[in-house]
Amino acid sequence: EAGVTQFPSHSVIEKGQTVTLRCDPISGHDNLYWYRRVMGKEIKFLLHFVKESKQDESGMPNNRFLAERTGGTYSTLKVQPAELEDSGVYFCASSHFTGLGVNEQFFGPGTRLTVL
């Protein structure tokens, strides 16, 4: 079974440009999460999808970030326009939805975003 995949693995862009990150969750996982780790800080939650619906987007830093999950499969996270403080590693995770208790989250390798 394939794990969570993320594309690209690295992205270097200029301030003001647009970048789109993609996450393919494990097949059949209804829950999809985006997290971000800014250098030297903890990994922080951005948002949570259940299928195609945004369940919780309380961690999204501002309206320059737009996440979508069309058809409840893969997800994209667009940053437009990018700012210097957006640099960091963006992780995607997925889990199977059971509605009961904890669901183990499986993480992708992350996308390292550098904004110059």
């Binding site: 903890e42 990994i43 919780d56 939805f97 208790g101 904890v102 669901n103 183990e104 993480f107 992708g108």
Partner: protein, 114 residues
């Protein structure tokens, strides 16, 4: 709200020595507790989790952790480390509601040398 504090940012040890990575959490409600590991150029992998029951939890690769409710701690231990254990380790908590996001500590880099 919950928060997690990993007390050591870096822990250097020699091969075959024991190690303890410390984690304390703060929460006004009951939580689940986790340890994740990130090897270089890989994603986070779940080492172990505490949901309920026995406070001593055994995970993969010979790691174990003990939940101490009175001290709000969940320290990770291994009696004898290997070079291959060199990685970054993250302690995390989540509320008990299904699907809740994880709240992470800042991570501890374990460096094992020969």
């Amino acid at each position: 709200a919950q928060s997690v504090t990993q007390l050591d940012s870096q822990v250097p040890v020699f091969e075959e020595a024991p190690v303890e990575l410390r984690c304390n959490y703060s929460s006004s409600v009951s939580v689940y507790l986790f340890w994740y590991v990130q090897y270089p150029n890989q994603g986070l992998q779940l080492l172990l989790k505490y949901l309920s029951g026995s406070t001593l939890v055994k995970g993969i690769n010979g790691f174990e952790a003990e939940f101490n409710k009175s001290q709000t701690s969940f320290h990770l231990r291994k009696p004898s480390v290997h070079i291959s254990d060199t990685a970054e380790y993250f302690c995390a908590v989540s509320a008990l509601k299904a699907g809740t996001a994880l709240i992470f500590g800042k991570g501890t880099t374990l460096s094992v040398s020969s």
